[in-house]
Symmetry: C3
Subunit: 355 residues, 3 copies
């Protein structure tokens, strides 16, 4: 079925559409073989990932000079974006905002629905459609699972759709986080993710980032995964099944020390106690899943340490000064690869010269 | 009396000035025969309206190309505006903000007086004067009737006045809403508002938009108005008197169906229950004043349906897909005609080529 | 000790570093003999002050034409700044924001830590480092004394430092307020602060601005100070000692009238009752420290009246219309001299032609 058929058939009814498999939905959010709405990590196949990574690299190189920055600033200076972030998230918000600024996109913000006319009894769908009428793109973070997708679906049915980028939707999807994590691996390994061993450590059950990153690994060859977590917070079965289906080898362990020496990358995560139902995090000794200063001697000399941030105690601040601790660079990578994504959506990626 | 005389006489005393008729005040807010402070719908006579409409049209045409958008972006890139919105209003705020961005105006925001130094015991007048010292224009929305006007009056007495645009002042004035509504009619009727029949439906008593729009109709010839409302929320007498005085024919009815087939435009409004004094809205059956999907068959084939938004139940969302439902376009019209107004105030409207 | 030595020795330990004398710390926040981090009024010696004043003057002159404003707007259009203001301060915030806009700097804001990921258990230091990763400069206002300095110290130890400007740090330092006050005197006296008599009036004990301004007076020759305050709120001894050490003559009095006729500048201040511990402000009759309309006849014909704003009752609004009341101009001076400071930090001050 091509896009037009999709739009005229399934798309007429959200209930039916929402129940489709993600793969079936993708054509609806794609135009001219480019991402139009960026909603799911599943939209990021290897070709697209590498294209976005090379675009991000080229953009960074280009902007090292003031002249290049001025060119970047003009690429999308004729566009306006809305950052609709009704779920608290300073770092993702700022990352997207500054990515917009790099490309010259002008920005408006909604960060709190209580000042919004939603208080006058308007539906969220009407509010979003109104806001969309002023801008050329919406970057959206919303606590309700599926809300961002529904917005994109709705917008595509109007006579003036604008691209929607998912900046985090409930617990289900946060595709640009996956994108930045993969980009960080790509840069750390000089473009060669194939064949690497990646340890993911901590609360794997409730961490959205490790789930998405595991998923993205199907794009690479010979990657091995090590899941290190307390038994209460093991990686969920749906991901393990997915890995088996794609022949991606993995191990599960509670013994961090046993995998430290093997890993090319260690992806640390925070305990997600905001998702506790009845204080279950308190019953867990999380300290075996901390990365301490003394561990620096136990890991490979080129092993990189990632963290989606914010952190609490799971990485000792003394580790920050080691050159293998790259979590702040990871933050910056997010800004650049988000800028690359926006350049792609608006078709100005070709104006960013690749090497 | 010319402006200078006005300034040196009446203007020295706010109490006296505020009691003048609006027509008497207008010279004080006008410079070089252009609007300087935009405070009242009464400033919008037919000549000005049409000039602003043509400017808005030209600006939209110009910005359809990237080159044209870049020119628009540079028109007022040397100016800075303050959006002082201490009354919640996301849509009007965003409309003005993006209008600024189209013209390249740099923006600052005040959206909450509690973070302001007003908490340190400063008067609102001092606060506004301080804020004005950083910028070239203030767009102001304020809950207190007359506050925006008083600000403009005060600023004009200083040695560094800046233009003030009223973005909604208490229940009395919201001139740019009237401007956008009239612009929407203008565009819908290919520039010919004369002779049209316009139905206004809903809570006419407390809706600011229908009051202002009725007022503006004096600028056109042969317009007929139909006021459709529950008897509790009929249009107020001051407007009816105004219409009689200007020989604008109108009817009042509770029977929506009786006027549907005649109207060239139907302006729907929400029940304004936030203005209830004692829950009076609950006593009213508002459903006869809903526009339902089945009504689409009863209206003229070129009849347009407007709504100032936000809506609740008074227009069935199924109506949205009909090409005669133009309320989202109405929103966009607001952004463009506000940009035209700012271009006019700063005298760059001449740089926007009219056809 | 040069900067590199400082960084490798003392800088490794915040506890030791924080206890140094300010003079000893300065090299750490200086690069290429320019201010890198602007943290202390002590960084503003006479040479720097006059350079910044001349830069501010040149920038204002340059931006009087639209062409000049466009040049100014492009000076730092390749830079992004973060305004991290977690202590309420609308006027300082707006002053910096618009200073950024004048130079074309793109801005992000943090104004409320409750929407920040700090709620997820992150340390403030981590939060700031994350935010710094998106931008080229941080302008910071924070309620905790020393926090801004610690941030600058931390950033300088990373491989990607960005300049930090102190926008007010607890009760201790607010260097750009001192800068703008001195700039206002400079402009009022046609560049000649030497030899002038300056009265400071009001709550001198708890007013940060009068303390910093007194300090800066060591840069000028033959200045005389008159401190006029209720006996409960006299200038603190540390400042009086400082003045004695630098042979700056001063008097202290409760009799405002006795100094009015002598002063070349009168710096009025508000009672700082937000710093009350037990309602002590209520026990003070502050009215002898008001500047009233009738005082206009008692002061020199060229005496200027300053106030850091916001004011309450200490200056009668009727005084505002006198040309010697320059507190609104003082506000504007703040914006311009802050822009000059940023131009200096980024080394584009040379592109702003001095007369």
């Amino acid at each position: 079925m091509d896009r037009t058929q999709l739009m005229t058939s399934i798309s007429a009814d959200w209930e039916s559409f929402s129940k489709l498999e993600i793969a079936e939905k993708l054509p609806y959010f794609t135009r001219n073989e480019k991402i139009y709405d960026c909603l799911f990590a599943q939209q990021l196949d290897r070709g697209r990932l590498e294209h976005l990574f090379r675009t991000a690299d080229a953009l960074r190189k280009m902007t090292k000079t003031r002249e290049g920055m001025n060119i970047a600033n003009s690429l999308l200076s004729h566009k306006r974006a809305m950052l609709y972030f009704v779920q608290p998230s300073t770092r993702t918000f700022l990352s997207f905002l500054n990515a917009c600024h790099i490309l010259g996109i002008k920005t408006s913000e909604i960060r709190d629905t209580t000042t919004s006319s939603e208080v006058k009894g308007e539906t969220p769908e009407d509010a979003v459609r109104t806001f969309s009428s002023y801008v050329d793109m919406i970057i959206m973070r919303h606590p309700a699972p599926g809300f961002v997708e529904k917005t994109a679906w709705l917008m595509n049915r109007t006579d003036r759709p604008v691209p929607i980028i998912n900046g985090g939707s409930g617990k289900d999807q946060h595709p640009t986080q996956a994108l930045l994590d993969a980009y960080t691996l790509y840069k750390s390994f000089d473009g060669e993710i194939d064949g690497k061993t990646i340890a993911m450590v901590g609360d794997l059950k409730r961490g959205r980032t490790v789930r998405s990153l595991s998923y993205l690994m199907k794009n690479y060859k010979g990657v091995k995964l090590a899941f290190v977590s307390p038994k209460q917070f093991r990686m969920e079965n749906d991901i393990l099944e997915f890995l088996r289906r794609h022949n991606i080898p993995f191990i599960e362990t509670e013994d961090f020390g046993s995998v430290m020496g093997e890993a090319d990358a260690i992806y640390m995560t925070r305990i997600q106690d905001e998702h506790d139902k009845a204080g279950e995090s308190k019953a867990v000794d999380y300290s075996p899943f901390y990365f301490k200063k003394e561990h620096l001697g136990a890991i490979k000399k080129d092993c990189v340490i990632l963290h989606p941030l914010p952190r609490r105690f799971e990485i000792d601040p003394a580790v920050d000064e080691d050159r293998r601790a790259i979590y702040w660079r990871q933050e910056r990578n997010g800004m650049w690869v988000r800028a690359a994504l926006m350049a792609h959506i608006f078709g100005v990626d070709s104006a960013i010269a690749h090497e």
